[in-house]
Symmetry: C2
């Protein structure tokens, strides 16, 4: 007997048989309407069978542990079982029908969903800026799902409201904002970067919130050419326009050139436009480059510009005494986006937006004061109702995932994770330099190791546009072969003038030197005939 069928077995009793009276005129009723006759559903008891539900959940949890935890992290298993979209559609039987399915079928669908998904916690998954299995954060995410709540108010989310506050305060402390600040967790770093744009714009001119930008001077955002695409997406969404994102050239390592920034600021001003914010990137997506925050902060101070740091990827370095120098100057900036779901391995999503302001800018910029949620006549301190700081209404308690993990590991273990990941990246870079046919794109500064693989047929060709053209086709073929084999997943991309190259990102403590050696061996095996 499944959960869903219980209702059908219960006595159906018509409300109309119970003598529910027809509508009566009520003094305070705005508009008494004709009553529709009550339906024919059981109202006398629950139509949900909790025991059946509980049994289903327990069985599904077994499947999750077996398939999505044990098997998914087992290096002997495949990272992915590749099927084309057409094949997979058939395997999954996606159609949604009028009738439901039996419990056993649904449990099989759970198994299949896991089976055909990419195993991002597998030690040979290096395809994105997240990887690995983090048990504390995973459990926290299960609890958040089971408890099923949103972070509007203290009333409905007391635990998670306080935890978000505690995590934000700690992150602010780590950043070094001695006088404190404010913040909020968002569904992804893109939104955090957009929050920065919106706050910077609001500080420049609070009136835009009410009147829009129709008679505003042309606003300009400055960011490096290597920045994340969310800056452009945000500019488009927010009515600023992608062309008003001025890209600042980077040096050969992908870092913003401060003098070039100042030139672009002057250029915008000379055009009659208003530069209002600079986005510096701490850990660019592809190369892992860190813009020089301190020098950029000098320029922003001089020109009175909001300085935001997109540290979604590189923010983790601040946990490490050894590597925090990469973020030197971050204590001076106005806002920071930092995703603990990347290098620190919190469950997806876990993205913090932090702001140094202490004047409730976040609240003023975003609030709409909905009276059905943010009543001011509550019996507790409503400053704990933080929902109106958000542009969302429903908002998940993502901070809890980071909180529980931090409690379990302590700052020291988080630091060690970062240090080990960068040590592994260093090892990989050295290994690449030793191996024939592998060439680093550049020395890694962070966890990104970018390299080309040259099959034997290309190794003795002279450096020429033809070689690069040929080389450009290698990574896509190697990628296709690794996916179809399921042996590992490594990303590739072109960058500017550079032909397609692989980008390896080491994160998980489960990754060993053998896995990195395997990646290089496997790339060679998969691509040596090209």
């Amino acid at each position: 007997m499944s959960y869903k069928t219980v209702s059908k077995k219960l006595t159906v009793e018509k409300l109309s048989d119970k003598g529910v009276k027809s509508c009566e005129s009520q003094a305070l009723v705005a508009q008494p309407e004709k009553c529709s006759p009550a339906g024919s559903f059981d109202v006398n008891s629950s139509t949900a069978d909790e025991q059946v539900a509980e049994s289903f959940i327990r069985q599904a949890m077994e499947i999750i542990v077996d398939e999505a935890v044990k098997k998914a992290t087992n290096v002997q298993e495949k990272v992915c079982e590749w099927h084309s979209p057409e094949q997979l559609k058939k395997l999954l039987d996606l159609e949604l029908r009028d009738g439901g399915e039996a419990e056993s079928e649904i449990l099989q669908r759970c198994r299949d969903a896991i089976r055909y998904s990419v195993k991002t916690s597998h030690p040979r998954f290096f395809n994105q800026l997240y990887a690995g299995m983090e048990p504390y954060s995973m459990v926290a995410s299960f609890i958040a799902e089971a408890v099923k709540t949103n972070l509007y108010t203290y009333e409905v989310a007391p635990v998670f409201t306080l935890m978000e506050d505690a995590v934000l305060r700690k992150m602010i402390k780590v950043i070094g904002w001695e006088e404190g600040g404010d913040g909020i967790f968002n569904p992804g770093g893109s939104l955090s970067n957009m929050y920065a744009v919106n706050l910077a714009r609001y500080r420049y001119c609070p009136d835009f919130k009410e009147v829009g930008m129709f008679s505003a001077p042309r606003l300009v955002i400055l960011t490096s050419q290597e920045c994340h695409y969310s800056i452009s997406k945000g500019a488009a969404l927010m009515g600023i326009g992608t062309k008003n994102v001025y890209t600042v050239p980077t040096d050969e390592r992908g870092r913003m050139i401060p003098s070039a920034l100042e030139e672009k600021i002057m250029l915008a001003k000379s055009e009659g436009a208003v530069p209002f914010m600079v986005n510096a990137t701490a850990g660019t997506t592809v190369l892992g480059a860190f813009d020089p925050i301190d020098e950029i902060a000098d320029i922003c101070e001089k020109h009175n510009l909001w300085l935001h740091v997109d540290a979604c990827w590189g923010g983790a370095a601040i946990m490490s005494k050894k590597h925090k120098h990469l973020l030197k100057g971050i204590h001076r900036v106005d806002s920071v986006a930092w995703n603990p779901h990347k290098m620190l391995m919190a469950s997806l999503q876990c993205s913090a937006f932090l702001v140094r302001d202490k004047t409730s800018l976040l609240q003023h910029c975003h609030s709409a004061r909905a009276s059905y949620l943010f009543q001011q006549d509550k019996f507790y301190d409503v400053s704990y109702d933080t929902g109106d700081k958000s542009v969302q209404c429903s908002r998940k308690p993502d901070a809890f995932k980071f909180w529980l993990m931090w409690k379990a590991l302590g700052s020291r273990e988080l630091e060690q994770r970062v240090d080990r990941a960068l040590t592994m990246a260093r090892y990989l870079a050295e290994e690449i330099k030793k191996r024939e046919g592998f060439r680093l794109v550049l020395e890694p500064e962070y966890a990104n190791v970018c390299f080309w693989y040259l099959p034997p047929s290309m190794r003795n060709l002279p450096e020429s546009p033809e070689l690069w053209k040929k080389l450009h086709t290698v990574a896509p073929v190697v990628k296709q072969r690794m996916m179809k084999k399921g042996s590992m997943m490594v990303g590739y991309q072109p960058l500017g003038e550079k032909a397609n190259f692989f980008r390896m990102v080491v994160i998980s403590p489960q990754v060993s030197r053998q896995d990195l050696d395997f990646v290089l061996d496997e790339i060679h095996n998969l691509g040596k005939d090209l």
Copy 2:
């Protein structure tokens, strides 16, 4: 032995001892830098102990089933255990420290996080527009968390990409867009409504994406005065401005008055502004009112305006043959926001944005074509890489929660859930009319039952501003008392000129008539001395 401490017991081997060579000049290396000496971390083997992790996850799962499923849905238990923010901070020991905690401590923290959270799946939780425990969707959310992936590309999320597509197609079919459409799941209905604004603006003038709105005519959005606040938040975020959201008066039941809409459109035009979209609400937040879509669609056609329907709350009615008339005309609109996480009980969050357009407007409006994710030289059909339709980068596979639930229940059971919920609301309204001291604000059209409770001391007072002023103070006190007792949770709010009233929303199939009777009895018990 806990997961986190394993690394400390492994042999630490310095890379430098392994004879890693110093940097060599590489022909293709952009800038060979001085190598930093490798760190002192174990690189030879995983520093994660999967067995310890697995054991921890299993123990935590037991806690989740016991506390967040069984106990949380037990009507004999409290809905919430109230503590003030100050008390709860002490109980939770929120501080994040340098050292980590033992497994047993972390498991206790899991228990505490559940214990002090509000039990939104309890049959006496009626505080928001979501409630109840949905086992299939809950399990799907656990799987999504365990599998840990983002919906950028088919490559990294093959299963969930296809499932999202299947769910969107089915929803589009249910809406009645016979020629199909497009869509995307978003983190909450607010963002879905913002997508509508952005698409409507893009259709009006695609150039805004590039050049911004600095030289644009003043754009105006039209929406009812009862609409969700996300329309205003979106207007602020998107540079349109809250003052350019023109609110259209509603009738006594909270429904937009079509003739008033047309007047506002003419007003905007007479001011030289450009109305470009109308937001109709299907199921307003407080009253549960449905704007007359068909009549509004006529007006939008006449004036060539984008018509969006915010059906986040009321969209579920379309699953019911009996109640779908509430959404009559929805097949004519341009876009719809519909949150299966509300009435249909999918796990939070599960919010769909649907658009009737077939010209890839969603893609054109939002895309940034990041070359590191959306490579065009992949070996499969990259039209399955749907991530660039989003303003997010990381995006959760929320559609899976709805898909699995729909598979398990079938359309028929979803229909019955809606029908039963509205039957229960009808029962409650009738009961309120029968009981002394209770007065409906209006006859419910949907699942929202809005009412005042008058303590005996106020029942014989003449209708006057003084009575309303007194009555306004009743709901907050009753709410405080129910929270402190933990017996139930029901929301209240003022609305326009109306004094604070309770808003009950019946959703969960676990709710019985006894629960509704209890709510009314308990309100009386808690408030009779006022």
